[in-house]
């Protein structure tokens, strides 16, 4: 039961990261469908089934993150090649930045090296929290005097 739940969570995780992984592969050079499938399959556990790559590619193209064009290379059959767009590169850069922070946070929580309540607060909110704490303390002190 717990194994099935973990598998379901893993599937959702894969779904979430597959798009950026495809973008990352296309960042290196344009590729056709089977090439992408093979690269992703080589990364163990990233691809649940080969076919899901194609709907994903179509969604990425609809979002303007990749483009596709037919290429007819000599001696080979015509293939549809996918390329990353500038918008795709921008999205990928943003995801990389978020992912590093996210992975570190999740890793910290999972390994008990970082407790959720003490997660490094955002720099802007730290001073405000400190002021509130001291103010509360002061008011309580005055009330006690009366």
């Amino acid at each position: 039961m717990s194994g099935m739940a973990a598998e379901g969570g893993l599937t959702e995780l894969r779904r979430g990261v597959l798009g950026p992984c495809v973008l990352a592969l296309l960042e290196l050079r344009p590729r056709f469908g089977l090439e992408l499938v093979r690269e992703l399959s080589a990364a163990d556990g990233l691809l649940t089934s080969d076919g899901t790559v194609y709907p994903l590619l179509n969604r990425l193209r609809d979002a303007g993150l990749v483009t596709s064009e037919w290429q007819d290379n000599e001696g080979e059959r015509a293939r549809r090649y996918y390329s990353i767009t500038p918008a795709g590169q921008e999205t990928l850069a943003g995801f990389r930045s978020d992912w590093d922070q996210f992975a570190a946070t999740v890793g910290g929580v999972l390994n008990h090296t970082l407790r959720p309540g003490r997660a490094a607060p955002a720099p802007d909110s730290a001073p405000a929290a400190a002021v509130t704490a001291s103010g509360t303390k002061g008011r309580r002190h005055d009330r006690h005097h009366h």
Binding site: E12, G19, P55
Partner: protein
């Protein structure tokens, strides 16, 4: 093995299942997915692949239904930065939304057409017909008939009477008034064997309508251009000319005439035959000379 891998029965069966599962997708999206899967198999499998290799490749692709479901989640959270993964509920909701939009659009078009049709039908049913009022103009068309016309009154009605000229063209012109609120288009002669004719006795009947409003030329019947069809706008008049070759055989003192004008008229989308009583009838009087039937 000859042909491509897509000729293999296992592949054909898989693609057929994909086609069925993709029926929920827009046609273009379903075609694209099929083309991608076919290309994938063409690339992955050699033409002489055996059943085992093909079955393994198809298994790796995943069930056709799953591919169609993935494709349906277009715009889902799997695209970076767009939120959560698509759930079955959202998928169904999107589908219903598309269906609802399409249904509403079709319904709106149908309702609009029905309203227009109802309005047009009501206009047709309520519109009165063209008329030749008591003071409206009417005259023989040819000058010799015009000159020999005798106005006679009988039974409270006036008759234009001219000698019959057997074998020759004769005719009259009358003013037709549209007292209704909608334009009416005269599209031709409405007379015939079952309803009667617009001439007292002749052949080759021809009905034409003056073009343009009755202007400075007034009732000068020769100043207008005549055509087989013409619009009579609301509140306006036109001249209708009826010509024929007289064939009637009349003895001296005998006469025969017409007291109504029968026209085919289009009102809105519909066409009808209007029988317009003439304030002054047109009668030919004998004796007939030359050829008569």
């Amino acid at each position: 093995m000859t042909g491509t891998i897509t000729d293999h029965p296992l592949v054909r069966d898989y693609l057929r299942q994909l086609d069925v599962a993709s029926r929920v997708l827009p046609a273009a999206q379903a075609r694209e997915l099929r083309e991608q899967i076919t290309g994938h198999l063409d690339d992955e499998l050699p033409p002489d692949a055996d059943d085992e290799e093909i079955a393994a490749a198809l298994s790796r692709l995943g069930p056709p239904g799953s591919l169609a479901a993935e494709a349906m989640a277009r715009g889902s959270g799997t695209v970076p930065g767009t939120g959560a993964p698509v759930t079955a509920g959202i998928l169904i909701g999107r589908r219903l939304e598309r269906v609802r939009k399409r249904t509403w659009l079709i319904a709106a078009v149908v309702v609009t057409l029905v309203v227009i049709a109802a309005f047009r039908t009501a206009t047709f049913l309520t519109a009165g017909q063209l008329e030749n009022g008591s003071f409206n103009y009417g005259a023989w068309w040819y000058e010799q008939d015009y000159r020999h016309n005798v106005l006679a009154t009988a039974n409270d009605s006036t008759q234009n009477t001219a000698p019959v000229r057997s074998g020759q063209r004769q005719g009259y012109v009358v003013e037709v008034y549209n007292g209704t609120g909608v334009a009416q288009t005269i599209i031709g002669d409405g007379s015939g064997p079952s309803i009667g004719w617009n001439n007292p006795g002749g052949t080759d009947e021809q009905v034409t309508v003056s073009q343009g409003p009755i202007g400075a030329a007034g009732h000068d019947r020769y100043k207008y251009r005549y055509a087989p069809a013409g619009v009579v706008p609301p509140g306006e008049t036109r001249l209708v000319r009826v010509l024929w070759t007289s064939r009637i055989c009349l003895q001296k003192g005998e006469s025969q005439g017409v007291t109504r004008l029968i026209l085919r008229v289009r009102v809105g989308w519909f066409t009808r035959t209007e029988v317009i009583p003439l304030s002054d009838g047109f009668y030919l009087i004998g004796p007939s000379k030359g050829r008569c039937i």
